[in-house]
Symmetry: D2
Amino acid sequence: MPLASLSAELEAKSPVYTAVADRIWDHAELRFDEYKSIEEQITALEAEGFRVTRNVGGIPTAFMAEAGAGGPVLGFLGEFDALAGLSQEAGVAEPSPITPGATGHGCGHNLLGAGAMLAAVSARDMLAKNGLPGTVRYYGCPGEEGGSGKTFMARAGAFSDLDAAVSWHPGVVSGVMSSRSLANFQVYFRFKGRASHAAGSPWLGRSALDAVELMSVGVNYLREHMPLDCRVHSAITNSGGNSPNVVQADAEVLYLIRGPRVKEAQALMERVKACAEGAAIMTGTRMEMEIDKACSDTIPNTALEMRMFENLSAIGAPAFDAADRAFAADIRRSLSEEDIADSINSAGAPEDVGAQPLHEGVLHFDGQSRPGNGSTDVGDVSQLVPTVQCWGPTWAVGTPFHTWQAVAQGKSPSAHKGMIQAAKAMAATALDVFQDPELLARAKAELKQRTGGKPYACPIPDDVLPPPLRAKRR
Amino acid sequence: MPLASLSAELEAKSPVYTAVADRIWDHAELRFDEYKSIEEQITALEAEGFRVTRNVGGIPTAFMAEAGAGGPVLGFLGEFDALAGLSQEAGVAEPSPITPGATGHGCGHNLLGAGAMLAAVSARDMLAKNGLPGTVRYYGCPGEEGGSGKTFMARAGAFSDLDAAVSWHPGVVSGVMSSRSLANFQVYFRFKGRASHAAGSPWLGRSALDAVELMSVGVNYLREHMPLDCRVHSAITNSGGNSPNVVQADAEVLYLIRGPRVKEAQALMERVKACAEGAAIMTGTRMEMEIDKACSDTIPNTALEMRMFENLSAIGAPAFDAADRAFAADIRRSLSEEDIADSINSAGAPEDVGAQPLHEGVLHFDGQSRPGNGSTDVGDVSQLVPTVQCWGPTWAVGTPFHTWQAVAQGKSPSAHKGMIQAAKAMAATALDVFQDPELLARAKAELKQRTGGKPYACPIPDDVLPPPLRAKRR
Amino acid sequence: MPLASLSAELEAKSPVYTAVADRIWDHAELRFDEYKSIEEQITALEAEGFRVTRNVGGIPTAFMAEAGAGGPVLGFLGEFDALAGLSQEAGVAEPSPITPGATGHGCGHNLLGAGAMLAAVSARDMLAKNGLPGTVRYYGCPGEEGGSGKTFMARAGAFSDLDAAVSWHPGVVSGVMSSRSLANFQVYFRFKGRASHAAGSPWLGRSALDAVELMSVGVNYLREHMPLDCRVHSAITNSGGNSPNVVQADAEVLYLIRGPRVKEAQALMERVKACAEGAAIMTGTRMEMEIDKACSDTIPNTALEMRMFENLSAIGAPAFDAADRAFAADIRRSLSEEDIADSINSAGAPEDVGAQPLHEGVLHFDGQSRPGNGSTDVGDVSQLVPTVQCWGPTWAVGTPFHTWQAVAQGKSPSAHKGMIQAAKAMAATALDVFQDPELLARAKAELKQRTGGKPYACPIPDDVLPPPLRAKRR
Amino acid sequence: MPLASLSAELEAKSPVYTAVADRIWDHAELRFDEYKSIEEQITALEAEGFRVTRNVGGIPTAFMAEAGAGGPVLGFLGEFDALAGLSQEAGVAEPSPITPGATGHGCGHNLLGAGAMLAAVSARDMLAKNGLPGTVRYYGCPGEEGGSGKTFMARAGAFSDLDAAVSWHPGVVSGVMSSRSLANFQVYFRFKGRASHAAGSPWLGRSALDAVELMSVGVNYLREHMPLDCRVHSAITNSGGNSPNVVQADAEVLYLIRGPRVKEAQALMERVKACAEGAAIMTGTRMEMEIDKACSDTIPNTALEMRMFENLSAIGAPAFDAADRAFAADIRRSLSEEDIADSINSAGAPEDVGAQPLHEGVLHFDGQSRPGNGSTDVGDVSQLVPTVQCWGPTWAVGTPFHTWQAVAQGKSPSAHKGMIQAAKAMAATALDVFQDPELLARAKAELKQRTGGKPYACPIPDDVLPPPLRAKRR
């Protein structure tokens, strides 16, 4: 099946999906609240004849859309949740919130879902056109940002009958994404003390905020004695009130605990928990721990990645024009040298990629996966089935994730071009898998070898409900 | 002038003021937002012929009402601000918020202002009835809770031409209040760091929340090395966001720093500031300090206090009835033994006061003032003119300040009775001062001796505006 | 019995005891190592016909010497241990160690024991001379400095058959010492972790030093929430070695925990222990707690104190001369204003005492005891029998305890004079007790009233051996 | 030059050097105190006709011995200092100190110097025997353990005219050592506060120990925000005394700060210093920083390492016998699985090396250097001239450095065998360099490429004297 034909078909349909991406950018809905965003997608997919299953895993904004029949079953993974506090006008190269404090698509998920849908539809089209068997799925995966939607979906069995999964992520380069992202656990620690007048009778008080702070001191001491490839960071989600005059009776801190594999992350979580216990004992408060969510590390798949690299190389860089470059250059001026260097380094790109405002090549891939610093719930899919991902060059080189700069570029022509390029690579790689049983077999064998044949164990305990299903507390 | 006559007149007018107290309880407005509460008071005072000056010291909810003419000028001090998070149904002896999270009168200030007004009006009536010269003022003082409204008013000269001041506070006993409340400074410390992805590039981040925590550790170490009669406590007013995934770039903490006199509180503030500076240096963040408010310690006045004790003794305890005692007993059941002991001890009452649900006597006063644990902006008035205060037995013995229990009792018959008793003691003592020039002279001489003749210096720096006049930040 | 006669007899014998004081100053032996110092005393007492019992309570340097017969049994309490690191030439008003780092009598205990002996011998002489019944004892009490020798002796019953006890302490003023010194517990916390190469495999290490530090952070947070009249302070007695390259596997910290009564000190000890437990949990180390010693608070005895005040007043200040004043003035020049103010305040003296280099009066005593900041094992004697103490004006006003200045003055003529004055006051008061059964009865009744009749409970647990009897660890 | 011939000659001379190694083991002298140890070496080298220069760089125990003439100049690097607290009987597989608390050769430096000497002498012999030009040097380098003797020597120019350097280290495997050990700075931070009685007037004290602890808290918070490949660890070298009763006026902490290169280590040192400054400000103490020593990272040299690997492969493993294996197995029983795994991993060996008590192969080397966790002053030599090192299999697999187990094996037959094998590899590689100008040229070109041609800058500031030349403080 010639790549040229796929490219042409895909580009023809792309305006529908860039429009969906733009509308999702406008909705900018937070994790598990993506009600409008999924309607945009479901409408487009149903128009293409996909059969939609809603409420996957019981999550109101999780869905699955399927087309085709027989053959291998391939899943395209899409995300579409936004971030808090990142409201920003599109196309403006300086901080300019539409509504200060409002949400914004700072991680490009408006493009992510739309691009994966475009790939899924195009792959289905090509199978159909060539009379080939094969089942194409698009997974609408909510709550990636701090929510691990896919992990809840994986626990519910949503990916169990897949043969392979394909996805991508908006970014600053074009290339295969082959990193072992970290497993993580996100955990609330709540302390309950006793209020008292902080001047009149502080000796009667037992401070929950003291406990949060002492836990933090303990965890910072722990850093010296934890493996180098682990991470732990936190946010105080309830400081116990704004009045210094009252000994704080309630406080809460949210920890994000990461390790190269679930096992290490879990072991570290136990040590962090010990710091919470120690802090409670020190302060005479009670501690309660609640796991909010977790996800697994990503298992790379060299077999699929090498094939995707070949496809990307054949597709080549998007055709950026002078206007694209000028806007990217404007964005670049708002970034520090340190940001730029870190962005390039994180993407695994050589230093000279930093010389131009946009990445106009394809990163070389030698089959070597890199250790990852972040986490993604794609990890859980990759534990179940061979999974392959690429980066789409949607943003100026140097753009950090979760910034107004990422939001500002989210509807730009270059973002659309980067999305379309990634969609082509995904569709082409999926079609290779559909047509090449030996490739799929190798990919599956590789996964088995990497997991040692151990069946997937979801890191989220069974009694932790998906966030939208939880009873409201407090 | 016989006390019996004053009592009768005062009781006759009291229904107006208990009704005002009840309506202010309903409004439950926070510091400097007491717009409805001052209208209630101004309406009542204008009906009595008082001349009202609004916007005292430029503060929209500060006012002064005057009546009478010539003679000494005596001021009755009133407060009327509520507290956050203390919504509670009146008359219910278990936690039962009207609107969860809403405001409530947890410090009895609904009674405080109304009671002082009642005393002022009655004193004016008695002067008039007896054809005596004398000027009576009522000061409507906003923002006592963490706002030090009176200190801003004092800085503006509002109390400079007074001869003496009289006030009271709702509480668990009946008696003279003769304590040296602590001077304090309330100060914001803000830290500005640099955000970064907490997993991907934490080394690029400089955490403002780390700075807040390290400052807290430093201040806790400082405790060992500060004078025993000082206090320092704090609240984290901005923890830098709820996302553990981002190194917190901004954070803010509010410190309340107290000492027996302004000098000691200020010296301690400098040492707390050093902890903030040290934390900024440690974390590579920038620190900014803003004084929010301050107040002075209270100077007791034994001359006036002895007289007030005589009046209180003559007036006797309120006539509580079986229903009053039953409700107080219900409230008592919700309190711990420790709370009760602390409440009695704080009031300077003997232990056996704890034997009954309501205090039905008058605390003995031997002229000895007690060190205070809390602070009040009455302190600044007491630095300027001889000031005398009493406790009114409005609540069940053991009721801590700033609790739902205090709110629940705020409209009860016993609260009204306690308020009326205190109003009588205030009015009677004021009338003694009006009629006894020698008493006033002694009171003034005592103040001069206690201050060493040093003129009042307002602890709030000149460039710190009253909160309602400040430009909004952020 | 005329005071003049006692004075003359006592002065006649005093050269023997000032010589003993000077020799004990030279020996400067640390707690429980006072072997030479007790021989000096035993020799002198045996020469006076006292019957000596050694090894009181099994402690090699504790002894008791008795003379007389029948009548009440009165004990004079002596101390004689020195302090580490305070070596200093006598009579030199600038820092000048004899042997740098060596021991020195920085708390005047060379004078304390000798002065008490002089009083005991004189009291016995006067009884004998007047043919009066009465038993005089001198208690040689070792290890007062951080050792609580008397508490171990009390636990062993050494004071159980006494009728009253008398003592004194060298200081900066002349006057009755009537303070409630604090009860305390001295406790070792030891942590056991796991060593590892701090650069190569810090993740394998569990740092005992981290635990000591985190415990300290916890205790500093605890300060806000402990009663104002409690104290806690510590020293790191084993930091786990000098090599930063090794994760410290062992560490030890010594806490001194004080409260107004044994009960409060014990309650605070439990909370400090919780900080140790919390730190162990946080760091994955094991914690072991060992009580080193404890002592009780001092119960004042107003009956005896009023009598001692009368005697002191009759005796008057020592006859200091120009040379005494000149040396004291030299010493004063080495002290800060803050030191001087604190010294005067600690002694409960009025500010104007600071105007002269030596205290040449007698502090007024109104029967009011003062809260104490420090602790002494005299407390345990005072729990058992009525106990009275005075200050001897042995040092320049302003001299802090435990300083080279105190050592430098320890053999000076003014020190000898201050000691003799105190000895007279002790002997005179003891003789009053011997002769006035009603006084003794009142003193005993007062003690009973103050303890509520509760029998003495030694704060040192039964299984804690006196330090010299402990098996050597490590 | 056939390897067989070299091997035979070297083995013939080896008894002299194993005897030297055993005697240095007996002396067990600490850094810069290696007076007896250098006499052992100088005697042996002078007996072989080497010309000895003492006092290299002004350090009494640093020396250089030279033989041969013309040609390239090759240096063999030797170390010989012991460690504190590691006294242990040789040949005993359980903890058994000869003198508890005394020194011991826990890092095998008794073997290190002797083995390098043996290689140097053998290389000289072979050059002479074959009539080849070439200058052989042995560098007696003191104070490697926390002293960076070679760095002081490098600063003094001792290695400036070398062409290449060769060394080895005792360990658990046989193989090339190609790691980038970390640069480091060792720095004292001293705090000066003010003493006071911790119970009586803690408010007058300013605690230097508080400053040390707060600095530590600051540094632990810093860990989250420092590059992953940096390290920092510390030891409290003066905790300010053992008495909890005194606010500690003096305290000292020693930090060891490491980074992948001098630049990063130095940048981190500045941030650690900021924590010290912040702690001083917080506590009102004064801080003083003193750099004790520093060393550079090691630059690998693949050209020489590949050649050494070839030589090692040709030489093969030592001929361990049943007794060797039995003793190693005994030692193994005293080690945890975690220790063993870490030891193997640190050596860069595959897991299966753990299956046998002794390593009886040669680790494969593919030219890839590994990031190092520790530091060595060999780094500074490697910055100046191409430097190559190997591991000698002197200890049971799993033996951690700096343990009694390492000491116990230091005189064993297997230690001698491992040392001889390493000496052969060093001598053979040196002879290759002497005979192959092209190899030397490549090695030099590689060094130039790795340093970017930047000249060596000694990380120890010019004003920091070698420890033995410093005036004694305190």
